[in-house]
């Protein structure tokens, strides 16, 4: 008998806007000692499935419309709440995505890790705390005795996620629901956490439902894979069969649209190249393979052969030169006290980019890559060093003379939700930079320009009067691209601009950036923590660590023949789907 058996589960959200079928007839099961990977894009219903199992969804608006979840002979969906509470945190525990927001900031780590024991077992506080500290050591929290009484904000992201895992494991559960447990973490930390989960499966026979949008992670950790799309399971099977020989067009598209170290495509395939969707009148969705999918893929492959790499020929004069760049931040301090400490975010960095090329900047969180991007644009104050842009040292320019350069250099931020003003229509948002720089003579000319830009990024004139909240994440990032293009820049800083996106959307935005680069001869500084994406986009790559450049070279050199240990460690930590 399987450990947990989900049959025909249906969870709908009923709101004023209508009914959303978040989970629509999902069935799968999990055995003891098995890791089942549930993969899908945002909105595919994978998290909602997990939350439904433990009854954690706010009802209303959520409502379980049907199905059963059998665990240990009981249907979890029908269990009265005291009995369900006895299972939650004791026999089935959950690891949540964001360790920052999922730990209570007002309570100590120890308090929170020991809490499940105190809730479910009849032990003294000391015993519970002892066991909590044991478990924290086991998941790799160093100095657990000393650090246990810290508050969550005193822990780093990786440490917090480990505390979260310790909290889930401390009662020796039979089943762990891990909802994107490593998404917020750096690759090296992620690799360690995946190891912990695999050890648990092997040593204690724990079953794990591992939810992720990252196919690489799923390939590395899971025994079986369930692929979800729009609330439905589109394919399930062993990890090899899914990755080596997918049968569903959506899965094929998902696998193809993700850049890997081996990707040779110049323009990435997208899910739309494979999949056609049709909505039936009753709201259910039909998914079909495109008849011309093979032809489309062949066309993309042909472009690699003929297109080659057109930008390599003789454009080697440096366009942007950064010399000995330093940015230090001092924290604390005030009228009567000295500054507490200096953080050397960027500490002596040299870089150069040639016109029309892309320089990739990779590194783990906190390594200073974002600060470099902002320092080049003078969005932060430089402590020392020079930024020579087209033979002018921007570091010396008084703010009044910066304006013409602001027109030439633009930035696309990571979070397209936060970087568009929710109270401006798209038209207003795109016209604003033109006004600032006095481009286009009048309102109607600007408006025409906006329409042109929207079409260039794949949106249309119908979108002009809408507000940002009416767009999806991918569309918003396109808007951000359009906004930065409004002033006709030559140089773009892309700061983690696809990190928040699903792979299928990511492919579209990457393709867009590529096309624009070729059409407008743009120069990119492409900042990302994702090594595969950087490899896909860049001609040259700089690997950063703790405010310095660890290694610098052409993209192929870095990936095929890394010189520094750190680069090698980074590359090794990237989960890959190779069997």
């Amino acid at each position: 008998m399987s450990l947990l058996d989900i049959k025909n589960l249906k969870t709908y959200f009923h709101t004023r806007a209508g009914t959303t079928r978040a989970v629509d007839d999902v069935s799968f099961s999990i055995d003891k000692g098995e890791i089942v990977g549930v993969v899908g894009e945002s909105g595919s219903g994978k998290s909602v499935t997990c939350h439904t199992l433990l009854g954690l969804l706010p009802q209303p608006p959520a409502k379980v419309e049907g199905g059963s979840v059998t665990f240990d002979g009981n249907d979890l969906l029908d269990l009265p709440s005291p009995l369900l509470r006895a299972i939650r945190g004791k026999r089935i525990s959950m690891i949540f995505q964001d360790p920052m927001s999922c730990l209570n900031p007002y309570l100590t780590i120890l308090d929170q890790v020991a809490e499940p024991i105190l809730t479910h077992e009849d032990v003294t506080k000391d015993q519970a705390e002892g066991r909590a500290i044991e478990m924290m050591k086991k998941v790799g929290i160093r100095d657990a005795e000393k650090r246990a009484r810290s508050y969550p904000h005193e822990f780093s992201g990786g440490m917090r996620q480990r505390a979260m895992i310790a909290m889930a494991l401390v009662t020796n559960p039979d089943l762990i629901l891990a909802d994107e447990p490593t998404t917020a973490l750096d690759v090296t930390v992620q690799a360690r956490i995946l190891r912990v989960l695999r050890d648990l499966r092997d040593d204690l026979g724990v079953g794990v439902i591992f939810v992720s949008h990252d196919l690489g992670v799923i390939a590395e950790v899971a025994d079986r894979v369930v692929v979800m799309y729009k609330g439905k399971v589109v394919e399930q099977g062993s990890v090899e069969s899914i990755f080596e020989n997918p049968s569903h067009p959506y899965v094929k598209g998902l696998l193809a649209c993700r850049p890997t170290f081996e990707t040779k495509f110049r323009i990435l395939p997208t899910v739309d190249d494979f999949l056609q969707t049709e909505e039936a009148p009753d709201g259910s969705l039909g998914l079909y393979e495109r008849p011309d999918a093979e032809a489309r893929l062949a066309e993309l492959k042909r472009q690699i052969d003929t297109g080659g790499n057109p930008k390599e020929s003789g454009q080697n004069e440096s366009f942007l030169k950064v010399k000995d760049l330093r940015v230090h931040f001092t924290s604390g301090g005030g009228l009567l006290s000295k500054p507490h400490e200096t953080v050397k975010a960027v500490d002596g960095v040299d870089l150069s980019i040639s016109k029309g090329q892309t320089l990739g900047l990779v590194g783990e969180s906190g390594c200073g890559k974002t600060t470099i991007g902002r320092a080049i644009l003078r969005l932060v104050k430089l402590t020392a060093g020079s930024v020579v842009y087209d033979e002018t040292n921007l570091a010396d320019l008084p703010p009044s003379e910066l304006l013409p350069y602001r027109k030439r250099m633009q930035i696309i931020f990571q979070d397209p939700y936060a970087s568009l003003n929710p109270r401006l229509t798209i038209e207003q948002a795109l016209i604003e930079p033109m006004k600032v720089h006095g481009l286009e003579p009048n309102r109607s000319a600007r408006r025409d320009k906006v329409v042109e830009l929207l079409e260039e990024v794949g949106l249309s004139v119908d979108h002009l009067l809408r507000y940002p909240h009416e767009f999806s994440g991918g569309q918003r990032q396109r808007l951000c691209v359009a906004r930065s293009l409004a002033v006709e820049p030559e140089f773009l800083v892309c700061d983690e601009c696809v990190s928040a996106m699903d792979v299928s959307v990511q492919a579209q935005v990457l393709n867009l950036l590529r096309e624009l680069q070729e059409k407008r001869n743009l120069t990119y500084l492409f900042i990302s923590h994702d090594l595969s994406v950087v490899k896909f986009m860049s001609d040259e790559i700089a690997v950063m660590r703790q405010g310095r450049i660890e290694e610098f070279g052409t993209a192929t050199d870095i990936y095929e023949n890394p010189q520094s240990d750190y680069t090698r460690e980074l590359l090794d930590a990237v989960p890959r789907a190779d069997f």
């Binding site: 954690l56 006895a86 939650r88 004791k90 927001s101 730990l103 209570n104 809490e115 809730t119």
Partner: protein
Amino acid sequence: MLRFITYRLLQGIIVLIALYTITFFLIKAMPGDPFTGEKNIAEETKQLMREKYGLNESVFHQYFLYLKNVFTEGSLGISTSKAHSVNEMIGQSFPVSCILGLTALSFAIGLGVPIGVASAVRKNSWIDYSGMALAMVGICVPAFTVGPLLQIMLSMKIPLFNVAGWETPRDVILPAITLGLVTTAYIARLTRSGMLEILSQDYIRTAHAKGLPVSRVVCKHALRGGLLPAVAYIGPAFAALISGSFIVETIFQVPGMGQHFVNATKARDPFLLQGVVLFFGLLIVIMNLAADILTGFLNPRVRLDQE
């Protein structure tokens, strides 16, 4: 911690000096002086009086003299209208206001916090709606309506309390309710919105996933964070409550401090006015500091920033 308190107290002194300066020059800008009135006083007598209170000196001399007296002797001057020392007058009336204010605040917290928590936990239920309707009434209905209503209901129709006066301990109850009603309403609303925000946080879901009963989730995981907005409000609100209310004192015949604010202004009594304003400012500074310390106690993230 000690450094934080010293720093804030120094800041407070600057605030108080600024407050004094503004008050002083506003009083000087008023037409007339303490001795212009309906009564016909001989010009010579007025001149003598001005000399006695040092009001014939230059404006700047007066400004610095008062400041010097405050700092060196702690003296807030002599009231020109009552011919008593301002210190003594505050000393007599403040304890009364303080007891009244404390009772009002206890009432406000004791009633406001539970209403706020219950409304947030049972959001959009009849508890929420009636709690918030009550709070709205508390904010909207002025003290000069609530006071007499209470007097009619609880003193005249059902003779539980004295209508007015300040003799027995029971006399504090009706004015305290009248005084604390607005504060209760604000605390209830702030607690509700604070709790609602915390209850929608991811870590509350984590707490549920651990299998904790709802009461534990609310009391242990949500309450500390949920109370923060209310705590920030309670500091200055407390200062306002214990410094007296002219309206409530008049309705219930309570010899508190609130009367001085109004009487001093009416009598153009510069020293009494400056004295009570400064004293009130000092209370605000101290209560804000207390609220900040309490916030630090509740919120570990703030605690770290201060050190």
